[in-house]
């Protein structure tokens, strides 16, 4: 309970590996759970499917959310989260390839806390991790 959990929703294995390396590089102190797509994320958050039995009240402190995922996308997860009275206060950081203005606006409307584009450089990725950490600390 004292250890905070961060849910990292990302379908691209390269991005998962790179971000995990960035976490390591920055000495990220929290537990990171990786969900490979939107459905897995929902299963985790709502303690269903493969995560039946998990304590729902043990909500993650922050969710790093990719938008473009097969079957269930990031915005759908966000919508589901904000509709739930436990999850609506979880910090959501969108980390996506999309530069569509419409996605950014919808994410904002749905209550995302931060909207970031996936960077081309590892250094920038580390900066993002730092930012996420500071968000959790506050």
């Amino acid at each position: 309970m004292s250890e905070k959990t961060v849910l990292f929703v990302e379908d691209n294995p390269d991005d998962v590996e790179l971000t995990t390396m960035a976490f390591k590089e920055e000495g990220f102190p929290h537990k990171v759970v990786v969900a490979a797509d939107g459905q897995e994320a929902l299963d985790f958050l709502f303690a269903q499917g493969r995560y039946i039995g998990r304590d729902r009240s043990d909500a993650p402190v922050l969710v790093i959310l990719d938008l473009k995922m097969p079957r269930v996308g990031g915005l759908e997860v966000l919508r589901a989260m904000r509709a739930d009275r436990w999850l609506r206060y979880v910090i959501v950081v969108i980390l996506t390839t999309s530069d569509e203005e419409s996605d950014r606006i919808t994410a904002e409307e749905l209550g995302a806390n931060l909207y970031l584009k996936k960077p081309m450089s590892f250094q920038e990725l580390c900066q993002i991790v730092k930012r996420i950490e500071s968000l959790i600390e506050t």
Binding site: N12, D14, D15, L18, T97, K118, P119, M120, S121, F122
Partner: protein, 482 residues
């Protein structure tokens, strides 16, 4: 084609028939006039003959009176009777005189002369008898002269008068016949004229309708052809737009999707480079650097492609722009980005136009960035921005006195990714001018360039002036197929 001939022919026939109608109408008018004149004169003649006839009837009356008076005188010897007799004779002579003047025919004249001569003889005898009476002759003795000598003359006169009357009656009838004939002719001609006019009128009407029908047929064919053409054009345009949109969406999504693996390349490249740095393996480091540099190039290309694609996707936001200000801003931006360079920029003032400010900024930036770039080896670099009239169309230009380009490759200039210089000569993705062309085309204009190796280049573009001409179909020369 047939329609055209019918149209032209109908027109000619119409003219001809109208002319015929006019001619017949005038001829009719003349004929009717002539007949009316004939009618009038024959009626006048008839009246004259009637009057002559009346006079003819008066002749025997006066003669009778004269005879009666003289006979009475022979019996009574009353001188007043003599006077009355002479009066009656005077009347007779006057009427005869009138008739002689009026009657023109030879036969009539001859009869009247005979009547006069006979009357003269008659009168002489009568006068002689009356003289005898005055001298004292007895009426009884004079009576036989009356009977023997005067009566036969009297009979002859009566005969002559009767003949004259007959003659007059015949003449009158003749004149009447002529009048009637003229009248009937006039009626016939009028009826004929009316009929033929009606006929001609209906023919004209029919022709006019034919003409109108032919004309409307021509128009209909033309309209149909044009409508078909419009339909085809619209169809083609739709197909083209749809195709373009698909292509845009496709190239956008490809460019976008390429970024994902590219991200892996650049990130891992970065990580590998730091490891290579640490490993002290110089060759490894060099190879990884080459890898990263290739990745960077790819990244630049994809970014260019994406921005080019984005440009053509978003809707045009047209408004009034101060082009001079825009060009000056871009110039200032370039000067600030290249502080080591000294470029003399001239911007023509007071240039205003209607366009999308963001797109035009990109276009002008690309052009002027090129100008900056290709004057890099020039000691006195000069860039000029302005507007001139070319073939009456306002055309903007960016001119530089830089390295120019080989005119032979001018057609490659605006093609995406085609470059006329190697990266070592001048940097660039080769997408700048393609972007300019896209922007300019979206404004309905065109872009082109002039240049010479070593003598600078001028890039022109127009806005809002693309002429779209739809060729209207004229009647085809052969067949009905358009």
């Amino acid at each position: 084609m047939l329609v055209a001939i019918k149209y032209r022919l109908s027109g000619r026939i119409l003219a001809l028939v109208s002319l015929a109608g006019l001619v017949s109408l005038s001829a009719t008018g003349v004929a009717v006039f002539a007949f009316r004149r004939a009618l009038n004169s024959s009626e006048l003649l008839r009246e004259k003959h009637a009057e002559d006839l009346i006079l003819c009837h008066e002749l025997p009356r006066y003669l009778e009176r004269k005879l009666a008076k003289s006979r009475s005188f022979l019996i009574t010897g009353d001188e007043s009777l003599d006077r009355e007799m002479r009066l009656a004779r005077k009347e007779f002579a006057s009427v005869l005189g009138q008739l002689l003047e009026r009657v023109r025919s030879d036969e009539g004249h001859r009869l009247l002369i005979k009547i006069r001569e006979d009357e003269l003889r008659h009168h002489d005898i009568l006068v002689d008898l009356m003289a005898k009476r005055r001298r004292g002759a007895r009426p009884r003795d004079l009576a036989p002269v009356l009977t023997d000598r005067l009566n036969p003359i009297r009979d002859e006169i009566d005969l002559a008068i009767r003949r004259l009357v007959e003659l007059k009656e015949v003449q009158m009838r003749l004149a009447g016949d002529v009048a009637e004939a003229s009248l009937s002719w006039a009626k016939a001609v009028s009826a004929g004229a009316a009929l033929s006019t009606l006929l001609i009128f209906s023919i004209v009407l029919w022709l006019v309708r034919r003409l109108a029908a032919a004309q409307s047929e021509v128009e209909h064919t033309l309209r149909q052809a044009n409508a078909e053409l419009d339909l085809q054009v619209a169809e083609r345009t739709r197909e083209l737009s749809a195709f373009n949109r698909e292509l845009e969406a496709f190239s956008y999504s490809i460019a976008h999707d390429l970024r994902t693996p590219l991200r892996a390349i650049t990130n891992y490249g970065e990580l590998a480079a730091s490891r290579a740095q640490v490993s002290q393996d110089a060759e490894l480091k060099r190879q990884i650097d080459r890898l990263r540099s290739a990745g960077l190039r790819m990244s630049q290309l994809i970014d260019s492609l994406l921005s080019l694609s984005r440009l053509t996707r978003r809707p045009l936001n047209l408004r009034e722009i101060d082009i001079s200000a825009l060009a000056s801003d871009v110039g200032a931006e370039l000067a600030a980005a290249n502080p080591s360079r000294k470029v003399d920029l001239t911007v023509q003032p007071d240039l205003k136009d209607i366009g999308d400010p963001d797109l035009l900024r990109v276009a002008i930036l690309n052009l002027m960035d090129n100008a900056w770039k290709f004057t890099a080896h020039q000691t006195d670099a000069r860039v000029e921005f302005g507007r001139v009239l070319i073939d009456d169309i306002p055309s903007y230009f960016v001119r530089d006195n830089g390295t120019g380009f080989d005119e032979r490759f001018v057609h490659k200039l605006f093609t995406a990714f085609e470059r006329l210089h190697t990266a070592s000569e001048y940097p660039g993705t080769g997408i700048g001018l393609a972007t300019v062309e896209r922007v300019v085309h979206r404004h309905g204009g065109t872009a082109w360039a002039e240049g010479r190796l070593g003598d600078g280049a001028t890039f022109y573009f127009t806005l809002n002036r693309r002429v779209v001409s739809k060729e209207r179909v004229r009647l085809p020369k052969g067949g009905r197929d358009v």
